[in-house]
């Protein structure tokens, strides 16, 4: 049994989401990803002497939308603060952020998979720093393209109790940010940066243990792995009679488990025993957290109200308008699909691929039962998109056509297989509504007498199949059925053919 099972995991998450405005938070430079260094800078985002910040209204609005979507309290007046620390990628050696009066406090979010509600501490608006890259020759280079990019920092309460919940949160939040159109939410492009604060405690305890903040988490799997590892490391410490201390750590994804120098850089009193940790790691595990700094070495950020920016009023009417314009949130949407009878997996897929979800909703709104709507969308539309290399933002078949298709099937005017095999492909290729396709191509169900005749004819023409059937090989039906379908151009009903075969077998 892993030592981690003896201790309850407590996690809080911090996310930095790059807002998808056109320009930076305090200047008109375009946002960038991958451009040559220092090609998206100006005196303001370079932090040259004499510059002043000019606040981007769109970035402000997007952060406000996040606050409102999370059900947070929005203050009547919000303002900014300087957070001071020295680092080469921070142009002014202070970051303009919000400490005292952030755009939103409190709030909660319903998670997509579990339906659990997790609470928030705050969301606030701040500027991003530039990027430092190490050259391996004793120098580093600073690129300020990213400096000044607007960030929404979203901070949860320490409400997570499992890695699954953390994963659920990342999924839900990613979806939320895309749905709100505030962030592209592509972790690999740096749009989202997660930090986890992890502590552990004896099950049943109400007190929080000392927490470790983990940085350098560059993927969703890294987040989950880091939380898992920290749970183990801190549990091993507690089990050994020691107490974790408040630390900041970096995730090192390349580490292969080995006792060599394990935690050699921390005092023995807070060094987790390697054996206990290793025992809890699955086969093939990679990655560990590495000590970066402790509470004693923590920065004194010397927060000060930002004198270059006025306080900004956020009237209640503005907040109400933002709230009224909110789209359906991912948690409730996922729940709606589940309650409508879809599987958890299906529900999640339709939320994550919102274009498909919207399509399903359009079908359902027109009266198609949700289960059918989901099936049509996943199977029929899915195949079309696949074949044509399209995304769900460019579905080439209007929902109305699928609604009509469904009505054709439900009314049994034509056999289902006929509709799917004969009508549907032409709906796609000719862009016509199903009824129009039927009319144009004269598609009709073959009548009973014709089916019987065709079946009898196929019976005569396939003696081997008949012999196999009489010998008990049910698979041989297929040969007869295929022949009948070919003869009737697919318009025969398989049920009718099989019924006739049954009669012939007697």
């Amino acid at each position: 049994m892993s030592v981690a099972e003896q201790y309850e995991l407590v996690v809080g998450m911090e996310v930095h989401a790059q807002l998808n405005s056109q320009s930076k938070l305090f200047c008109g430079c375009a946002l960038s990803f991958g451009e040559p260094p220092n090609t998206r800078t100006c005196p303001v985002c370079l932090g040259l002497p004499g510059v002043l910040p000019h606040l981007n209204r769109e970035a402000f609005s997007k952060c406000l939308r996040i606050a409102v979507a999370l059900g947070m309290q929005v203050p009547e007046v919000t303002d900014f603060d300087r957070k001071s620390y020295t680092y080469p990628d921070l142009p002014k050696n202070y970051q303009i952020t919000q400490l005292y009066h952030p755009l939103g406090t409190g709030g909660e979010l319903e998670l997509m998979r579990s339906g659990k509600r997790i609470r928030f501490d705050n969301v606030h608006l701040e500027e991003d720093a530039g990027k430092l890259s190490h050259q391996g020759d004793g120098t580093s280079r600073v690129d300020f393209n990213r400096a000044g990019t607007p960030l929404a920092e979203i901070v949860t309460a320490p409400d997570f109790r499992s890695v699954e919940d953390v994963d659920d949160y990342m999924l839900t939040l990613t979806q939320l940010l895309k749905t709100l159109d505030v962030c592209h939410a592509r972790m690999q492009e740096g749009n989202l940066r997660f930090e986890a604060s992890v502590s552990v405690r004896k099950a049943g305890s109400q007190e929080l243990g000392e927490r470790t903040e983990i940085k350098n988490l560059n993927s969703y799997t890294a987040v989950c792995a880091a939380v898992t590892y920290e749970h183990l490391r801190q549990s091993a410490l507690l089990a050994a009679g020691q107490t974790p201390r408040q630390e900041t750590r970096l995730w090192d994804e390349a580490w292969e488990p080995s006792p060599a120098d394990y935690e050699a850089d921390v005092p023995a009193a807070v060094r987790a025993p390697y054996a206990a940790v290793a025992a809890g790691l699955p086969e093939g595990w990679r990655g560990r957290t590495r000590f970066m700094r402790s509470k004693e070495d923590a920065q004194d950020y010397r927060y000060m109200p930002e004198p270059d920016l006025p306080r900004i009023e956020v009237p209640a009417a503005t907040v109400d308008a933002v709230r009224a314009a909110l789209p359906e949130l991912p948690g409730p949407r996922c729940a709606r699909y589940r309650e409508g009878g879809l599987s958890a997996r299906e529900a999640e897929d339709l939320v994550v691929d919102a274009g498909l979800g919207d399509y399903v909703d359009a079908l359902a709104a027109a009266g198609v039962p949700l289960g059918d709507a989901a099936n049509y969308t996943r199977n029929l539309i899915g195949a079309v998109l696949n074949k044509q290399g399209l995304g769900s933002d460019a579905i080439p078949v209007p929902a109305a056509h699928l609604v009509e298709l469904h009505e054709l099937i439900a009314s049994k005017a034509l056999p289902k297989e006929l509709v799917l095999k004969q009508v549907w492909p032409k709906v796609v290729s000719e862009g016509l509504a199903p009824k129009a396709v039927v009319a144009k191509h004269g598609i009709q169900a073959v009548d009973e007498a014709a089916v019987r005749a065709a079946t009898d004819a196929a019976w005569e023409a396939n003696p081997q199949a008949v012999a196999d059937l009489r010998g008990g090989k049910q698979k041989a039906r297929g040969a007869i059925l295929g022949a009948v379908m070919r003869a009737t151009k697919g318009q025969a009903s398989p049920q009718a053919v099989n019924a006739r075969i049954d009669e012939l077998l007697k």
């Binding site: 040259l48 004499g50 020295t86 080469p88 580093s140 010397r302 270059d308």
Partner: protein, 488 residues
């Protein structure tokens, strides 16, 4: 080699085609090149010639070259000038060439003025004597063994010494008004937010304002009309609440019916007796013109310098944090043989700060530090609110508060360097107006027996800048001072 032409006269002559801007610029540049006061840190002849050509071409083509057409102007070296070295008086910024112009530089050039050079200042505007410049002090035009005041000492001396008719300075705790008083010229700190700070190398962001120097209130007014006005890109600037122009306000102005307030608490402070006498005489002259004088009190005067110390240095400690040698600035070598590494890059670069700047950064850093923020910074903000409330109450029914700008006339170079606190005490009559965001003007009102200028200060309610200029114009006329410095 001085020139005492008035700016408004010069502009009128250039606009009428009687004078060529090119000639005016050349003459000014010659004076700058021969500057005996060390008012200037550098000239910008290329820029000046190019702008002058433009003005002359506009005049020739019958286009409007602007109300300050052809007038030479000096710019304090903490205002960014694109393509022209800007040092803020610091070794750390030696060789720094901004890629952009300060908004006020853009505005004065748009009005037709010709920037001829950058003037000396206390390093990063921290000082009251210009002795803290890394490039040597500026001398007082009335007595070259004395200071011109600071931090805008170079601009004040350039104007008062007849090198240029107009100059820009900045004022955080008195840095325009005090040198104006010590040099015998006119200077104004506008209402906070009236003039854009974009491109002003920041010292105390909530206190700094750019303002004009001139030899007459009429000239000052012309420059103010070019400077003032909302800059959307400076979010602390505002649309001024006044209507009309400064030029209009300065004409036909009168003291009759004006109510002037004398601050009882200031009278009780230590004051040079000649300063006291001169200001009292000036007040009598105002009364003779029909002004009424009443006594007012500012109960929290004792809080002003402490609050200013804490707030200005706190803001400065963050404003100056950017000087770390990464993207700009002179990277000094390390001490001894040690190579500069990541941990020492910033400290070694920041050895380029002079001792006064270092003192202020330390105090400001302390005031914001963990465990001390409430006791210092927050209290200072509270003091600020209380001081502003005092002023607004005192100004109720009063057109302007009046009193000496500086407790002493120009003092000898070196005299106050040993005691920083004594230097800070010189700001006693000026810092409150920065804390309260109010406009204040220093007007020459007399001389000591030794011939050193004395200035009287007018302080007004927020957005009463036009009224202050009007009162000052009338007072200037009533005082009828007519003297020029001999030390050329």
């Amino acid at each position: 080699m001085s020139d005492w032409a008035s700016a408004t006269e010069l502009a009128a002559q250039v606009r009428r085609g009687e004078l060529r801007a090119a000639d005016v610029a050349a003459a000014a540049l010659a004076r700058v090149a021969n500057d005996p006061l060390h008012a200037f840190l550098r000239a910008c002849p290329q820029r000046a010639h190019a702008r002058a050509e433009t003005v002359d071409a506009q005049v020739a083509a019958g286009e409007d070259p602007g109300p300050l057409a052809g007038v030479p102007i000096a710019i304090k070296d903490n205002l960014c000038t694109a393509g022209v070295e800007t040092t803020a008086g610091s070794k750390l910024l030696a060789g720094f060439v901004p890629p952009y112009d300060a908004e006020v530089v853009r505005r004065v050039e748009a009005a037709g003025a010709i920037v001829v050079g950058k003037t000396n200042l206390d390093e990063f505007s921290m000082g009251s004597s210009t002795e803290h410049s890394a490039f040597g002090p500026t001398l007082n035009p009335w007595d070259p063994s004395r200071v011109p005041g600071g931090s805008s000492g170079g601009s004040a001396a350039a104007v008062a010494g007849g090198l240029v008719p107009l100059a820009l300075g900045s004022d955080t705790g008195g840095s325009i008004r005090q040198p104006a008083a010590l040099c015998g010229c006119v200077g104004l700190k506008p209402t906070y937010g009236a003039v854009s700070r974009r491109g002003l190398i920041a010292f105390g962001s909530s206190l700094d304002q750019v303002g004009p120097f001139a030899r007459s209130v009429g000239d000052l007014a012309a420059l103010l009309d070019a400077l003032c006005g909302h800059d959307p890109a400076d979010m602390t600037s505002e649309q001024p609440a006044w209507t009309g122009s400064f030029a209009e306000a300065a004409q036909g102005a009168s003291l009759a019916g004006a109510t002037l307030g004398v601050v009882r608490d200031y009278l009780e402070l230590t004051l040079d007796p000649e300063v006291r006498a001169s200001v009292e005489a000036a007040v009598s002259a105002a009364e003779a013109q029909g002004a009424t004088v009443r006594e007012v009190s500012l109960d929290h005067t004792a809080l002003a310098i402490p609050a200013y110390q804490v707030l200005a240095t706190a803001e400065a400690s963050t404003n100056l944090a950017r000087f770390d040698g990464v993207a700009y600035g002179v990277r000094a070598g390390a001490e001894g043989d040690a190579p500069v590494d990541a941990a020492t890059l910033a400290p070694s670069t920041r050895r380029g700060f002079g001792p006064e700047v270092r003192r202020r950064i330390l105090l400001g850093t302390f005031a914001l530090s963990s465990g001390h923020y409430d006791a210092y910074y927050l209290k200072a903000q509270q003091a600020r609110r209380v001081i502003r409330a005092d002023f607004l109450a005192a100004l109720d029914g009063v057109d302007a508060l009046i009193g000496p700008t500086s407790p002493v006339p120009a003092f000898p170079l070196g005299e106050k360097l040993a005691d920083p606190l004594a230097m800070y005490a010189l700001d006693v009559f000026t810092v409150s107006t920065n804390l309260a965001g109010l406009p204040a003007l220093s007007l020459p009102c007399g001389f000591t027996d030794a011939g050193l200028p004395i200035g009287v200060q007018l302080t007004g309610a927020p957005w009463s800048d036009l009224r202050l200029v009007a009162l000052a114009a009338a007072w200037e006329q009533a005082l009828g001072l007519d003297r020029r410095p001999g030390a050329q």
